[in-house]
C-alpha cells in the first residue's frame, strides 16, 4: 500500500515539532548518508536502523517510529552522534523517542528492556547506586527466567566482583531530591 503522506501529515501534525522540542534536534537536516547506521554497534538487531528512524521521522510516520524496537535497542553509546556530519544528536533523539513511546505505553515489543530500565532505576532510587545482584535477579524474576545468567553470577560473586548485599551511598536525601525534581518536571509536561 502507498503511504499517504498528506494523511500522515494531518494525523500526526505536531509530532515532529514535539520531537524537536524534546530533543533539541532538527531531524529534517538529516541527508540520509547512513553513517550513523554504518557505525551503530546494535544496528544489526534493529528493525529500523538509525538512518531509517530519521527518515521515518522526516515523513512524520509516528507509529513506525514509536513502535520500533530500534529506539529501545539503542544503547546510547552516541557513536552516531559523534560521527554525524550534520551534527544531529541522534542518540539524544532516540532518548526522546523512548520517553514518548513509554508515555504512550508503546512498549509491548520490548517489554524486557523497559522492565530492565525500571528495575535499574528502582535500585538507584533505593541505594543511590546499582546493586547488580538485585537488578539481575529482579529483572529475571519479572521476566519469568529466574536462573538466566546464574552461572556468570556465581563466578562474579566468588571473585568478589558482585556483592551479595546492597550498600547505600551517603546523601540519600539528595538522591530522593533528584527523583522528586524529575517527577515534578514530568508532571509539569
Amino acid at each position: 500500500m502507498h503511504i499517504n503522506l498528506t494523511a500522515v501529515a494531518k494525523a500526526n501534525a505536531g509530532f515532529l515539532e514535539r520531537v524537536k522540542a524534546a530533543s533539541g534536534q532538527d531531524v529534517a537536516q538529516c541527508y540520509q548518508c547512513g553513517k550513523c547506521t554504518a557505525g551503530c554497534p546494535v544496528g544489526y538487531a534493529m528493525d529500523e536502523p538509525p538512518t531509517r528512524i530519521m527518515r521515518l521521522l522526516q515523513l512524520s510516520l509516528k507509529d513506525e517510529v514509536l513502535n520500533s524496537n530500534a529506539i529501545w535497542l539503542c544503547s546510547t553509546c552516541a557513536t552516531c552522534t559523534t560521527r554525524c556530519p550534520k551534527d544531529i544528536d541522534i542518540a539524544g533523539v532516540m532518548d526522546s523517542l523512548r520517553i514518548m513511546a513509554k508515555r504512550e505505553g508503546r512498549i509491548k515489543a520490548v517489554r524486557s528492556i523497559d522492565l530492565f530500565n525500571d528495575v535499574f532505576l528502582g535500585s538507584v532510587r533505593k541505594y543511590g547506586r546499582v546493586h547488580e545482584l538485585g537488578v539481575g535477579m529482579g529483572h529475571n524474576l519479572r521476566t519469568y527466567k529466574p536462573f538466566k545468567d546464574a552461572d556468570i553470577g556465581t563466578g562474579l560473586m566468588l571473585k568478589g566482583r558482585m556483592k551479595l548485599l546492597p550498600s547505600k551511598i551517603k546523601g540519600q536525601g539528595e538522591i530522593a531530591r533528584i527523583f522528586n525534581e524529575v517527577r515534578k518536571l514530568e508532571e509539569a509536561e
Binding site: 502507498h2 499517504n4 503522506l5 498528506t6 529534517a28 527518515r55 515523513l59
Partner: protein
C-alpha cells in the same frame, strides 16, 4: 636527406613506468633519416624544450619527432620550441605513445614497447616527407554579430561593445530579454530577475556601438572568419518604430485577445502588443495571424487611435546585409515538451500540473496574478504543492539523457517561495538526486529543507485527479516504500532543450549540433566558447543547459574571444588546409559538395601551353579563409589534386607503410 631528431618523453611514470624509454630511443635511432635519438623525463618542461633547441643546433636537425602525449596537448608547445630554434614549426611530428599506448597497455609492457616503436616509426616516416608550411593572412572586419538577445547575447554584446567594437544584435522576438526576464527571483541570492536584467536590456538599446534588430532573424551567413556577410530578415511589425512613441493606446483599444506568449498562456495579450511593460524596444508589433484587420479586412482601430500615424499595414519584411568579423551564437533554450511525452503525468490534461516556467510567472509580482501563487484551474491558493524534478531530464526513454543543471536549484527556490508566501503550506519535492554544484547553492538547498520542504527520493510514476486534488504517486526509495500525496498543484521541473531554430542557425554558421541538440564547442574544457568554425563562438545555453551565473560567465568569455579576434588588423590562417594542384585537377567538382565549410569553389583558368592556343579549363579553388583542413575534399578527389598540407597522400601512405609493412 633530412636530418631527424627523435625525442622520447618519459612523462614521469606515465610512459617511463611502462616501457623502457632508453631502449625505445636506441631503437628509434636506427630508423631511416634519424641522426639523433634521445630521451628525457619531461620533454615539455623548460629544460626538456631547451634540450631540443640545443640538439637542433648541435646536430643541425631539420625535422623533429617527439614521442610523448597527444598532439592535442603539446603539439603547439613543441611547434613553438622549433620556432624558437629557428626551424619552421611545421617540420615537427608527434608520436602519441601515452594515450595511444602506455595508458591503455600498462598491463602488457612488452607489447607496449613494440607498439611504441611502431608509433615512432610512423612519425619518423612522415617526418621524412614534411615540408615547411607558412600561414597566410586575411583581413579583419572589426564588427561582431550576436544571434539571440537573451541574457547571454545581451552580456556578450555589451562586453564587445564596451571594448569599442561595433555589435549587431539580432533577436527573433519583439523584445530582448529572453527567458531570464520572465523569471521571478534568482537563486541563490533571491535577487529579482527583472531588476537585474532590464537595466542591461536598456544599456543594449542605448549603447552607441550596438545596433539592435528585434523581431528579426538571421537568414544566411556567407564568408569566413574576419569576413562574414550576414543576411538578416526583419519581420514586418506593421508599426513604424521611428514614429511610434510607445504610448500603448493601440494596445488598450485593440479588440482582439490572444494568449500571451510572455506569460505562457496564463494571461492574454492584444493582437497589437508590447510583450511586457519593460520590453526593449518598448514599441508594439502587430501579430498579423490574429489581427482582425489582417484576417477579416475590417477594424483598423489601432490606426485610428494612433496620434503619430505610426501604424503601417502595408509594411513588408525587409532584408538587410551586414559585414562582420565574428559571430556569437546565443540562441538559448526552451523547455522540453513534457505534455507530449508523459502520459503518466496527464499529457497536459490537468490544468494544475504546470512547469517551472509557469510557476515563475505565477509567483512573479509583475506576472498575471500579481505574484499570488494560484492554481490555474480555480485561482485558489494551493496548500499542498508537489514539485517533480527531472521531467524529461535524465530520462533516456522519454526525454533526454543529460541533467538540465538548473532545476535542482530553481525547484529549491520555488519550494522556498511557496513556504514563504503560503502560511502552513506543505511542500513535497520528488527527486532522484539533488545536485547543487555552485557557490552558495548547497546552503540554499539546506535552507529550503529548514524552511520545511520535504524531499522524497524517487520518481513520480503517476498523477491522477481525485475531486479537486491531484494524487501524486511515487516512492520513497530511502524508505523503500511507495508513497502518495494529495496535492493542490504540481510543478514539473521540465528539461531544458535547445531552441527550436537551432538546426537552421547551426547550418548557417557551420557549427555541429551534438547528439542532444546543443551546439558543439571546439573542446569541452580548453576551448569552451569556440567552435570548429573559425570566428564563430557560442555563449549560454545554446551550448548546453546552464544557469544564469554560468551563462553570463560564458557570454563574457565569448566576448573576450571576440575582442581578441577583432583587436587584430589581419588574421594568420592555419597553413594546414587544402590546396589544389591545378595541373592535374580535372574540374569534376566532386570536392565542392564534399566540403562542409563551403570552402571549395570551381573557377575557370586560362592555360597557355607553348605551341598551342590559350585554353580555358575549370578547376577547383580553395578559399583559405573558410577551409578548416578537414580533408573531405582530399578523399573525394579522384586524380589526387586535392591535398591537405601537412597531411598529403604521400605522407599518409608513408605512415601506413611504416606501421603495416
Amino acid at each position: 636527406m633530412p636530418r631527424i631528431g627523435v625525442f622520447v618523453c618519459w612523462c614521469g611514470s606515465n610512459i617511463g613506468g611502462v616501457i623502457d624509454c632508453p631502449k625505445l630511443a636506441a631503437d628509434a635511432g636506427e630508423l631511416p633519416g634519424v641522426v639523433l635519438s634521445t630521451e628525457y623525463k619531461y620533454m615539455c618542461s623548460e629544460p626538456g624544450q631547451n634540450s631540443i633547441i640545443q640538439a637542433i643546433r648541435d646536430h643541425r636537425l631539420d625535422r623533429v619527432v617527439v614521442a610523448s602525449c597527444s598532439p592535442r596537448l603539446h603539439e603547439e608547445t613543441f611547434r613553438k620550441t622549433l620556432a624558437r630554434a629557428g626551424l619552421n614549426p611545421y617540420l615537427f611530428e608527434m608520436a602519441n605513445i601515452r594515450e595511444h599506448c602506455t595508458w591503455v597497455h600498462n598491463k602488457e609492457p612488452e607489447k607496449a614497447q613494440v607498439k611504441s616503436l611502431a608509433l615512432v616509426s610512423r612519425a619518423v616516416a612522415k617526418a621524412n616527407l614534411l615540408e615547411p608550411l607558412f600561414p597566410s593572412s586575411i583581413p579583419m572586419t572589426k564588427r561582431c554579430l550576436v544571434i539571440g538577445g537573451g541574457i547571454a547575447g545581451i552580456q556578450a554584446a555589451l562586453d564587445v561593445a564596451d571594448a569599442g567594437h561595433e555589435v549587431i544584435l539580432v533577436e527573433k522576438e519583439p523584445t530582448i530579454g529572453g527567458n531570464m526576464v520572465k523569471l521571478d527571483k534568482t537563486f541563490p541570492t533571491l535577487d529579482c530577475s527583472a531588476c537585474i536584467s532590464t537595466p542591461k536590456m536598456v544599456s543594449v538599446s542605448t549603447h552607441p556601438n550596438i545596433t539592435l534588430y528585434t523581431y528579426s532573424e538571421v537568414a544566411g551567413v556567407d564568408g569566413y572568419i574576419g569576413n562574414f556577410e550576414v543576411t538578416i530578415r526583419r519581420k514586418a511589425s506593421y508599426v513604424d518604430h521611428s514614429e511610434c512613441t510607445g504610448c500603448g493606446d493601440c494596445q488598450t483599444k485593440c479588440p482582439t485577445k490572444v494568449p500571451s506568449e510572455f506569460n505562457l498562456g496564463l494571461s492574454t495579450r492584444k493582437a497589437i502588443y508590447i510583450p511586457f511593460p519593460q520590453a526593449v524596444p518598448n514599441k508594439p508589433v502587430i501579430d498579423a495571424a490574429n489581427c482582425r484587420y489582417f484576417t477579416t479586412g475590417k477594424c483598423k482601430v489601432c490606426q485610428k487611435i494612433c496620434t503619430t500615424e505610426a501604424i503601417d499595414y502595408e509594411q513588408q519584411d525587409t532584408v538587410i546585409t551586414e559585414k562582420v568579423g565574428a559571430i556569437v551564437v546565443a540562441t538559448g533554450y526552451q523547455l522540453f515538451d513534457w505534455a507530449a511525452a508523459y502520459g503518466e503525468y496527464g499529457y497536459g490534461r490537468y490544468p494544475d500540473v504546470v512547469t517551472g516556467m509557469h510557476f515563475e510567472r505565477l509567483v512573479n509580482a509583475a506576472g498575471p496574478t500579481g505574484g499570488k501563487i494560484q492554481r490555474p484551474s480555480d485561482q485558489s491558493e494551493p496548500k499542498t504543492v508537489v514539485f517533480i524534478k527531472c521531467v524529461g531530464s535524465r530520462d533516456p526513454a522519454k526525454g533526454k539523457e543529460y541533467c538540465s543543471r538548473a532545476c535542482c536549484m530553481y525547484t529549491a527556490k520555488h519550494a522556498h517561495q511557496v513556504l514563504e508566501k503560503i502560511p502552513g503550506a506543505n511542500v513535497y519535492i520528488f527527486y532522484i538526486d539533488v545536485r547543487t554544484p555552485g557557490k552558495g547553492y548547497e546552503e540554499f538547498y539546506q535552507r529550503t529543507i529548514s524552511d520545511g520542504a520535504v524531499y522524497v527520493r524517487g520518481r513520480v510514476s503517476k498523477i491522477y485527479q481525485m475531486g479537486d486534488k491531484l494524487v501524486v504517486r511515487g516512492s520513497d526509495t530511502l524508505l523503500g516504500r511507495p508513497v502518495e500525496v494529495e496535492a493542490d498543484m504540481v510543478v514539473l521541473a521540465s528539461a531544458m532543450v535547445s531552441s527550436s531554430g537551432i538546426q537552421d542557425v547551426a547550418r548557417m554558421v557551420s557549427v555541429q549540433v551534438d547528439k542532444d541538440g546543443w551546439l558543439q564547442e571546439a573542446h569541452p574544457k580548453l576551448r569552451p566558447v569556440e567552435t570548429h568554425t573559425g570566428g564563430v563562438f557560442v555563449a549560454g545555453s545554446c551550448q548546453g543547459p546552464k544557469d544564469i551565473p554560468d551563462t553570463v560567465a560564458q557570454a563574457s568569455a565569448a566576448a573576450a574571444k571576440v575582442c581578441g579576434l577583432l583587436s587584430r588588423e589581419e588574421l594568420a590562417t592555419d597553413p594546414m588546409i587544402s590546396t589544389v594542384n591545378q595541373a592535374i585537377c580535372t574540374g569534376c567538382g566532386l570536392c565542392v559538395p564534399a566540403c562542409p565549410y563551403q570552402a571549395v569553389e570551381l573557377k575557370t583558368i586560362t592555360e597557355r601551353i607553348p605551341g598551342h592556343a590559350p585554353r580555358e579549363r575549370t578547376v577547383a579553388d580553395v578559399n583559405s579563409g573558410l577551409c578548416q583542413g578537414c580533408g573531405a575534399c582530399n578523399v573525394a578527389c579522384r586524380p589526387g589534386a586535392m591535398q591537405v598540407k601537412g597531411f598529403t597522400n604521400d605522407e599518409l601512405v608513408a605512415e601506413v607503410d611504416a606501421i603495416c609493412l
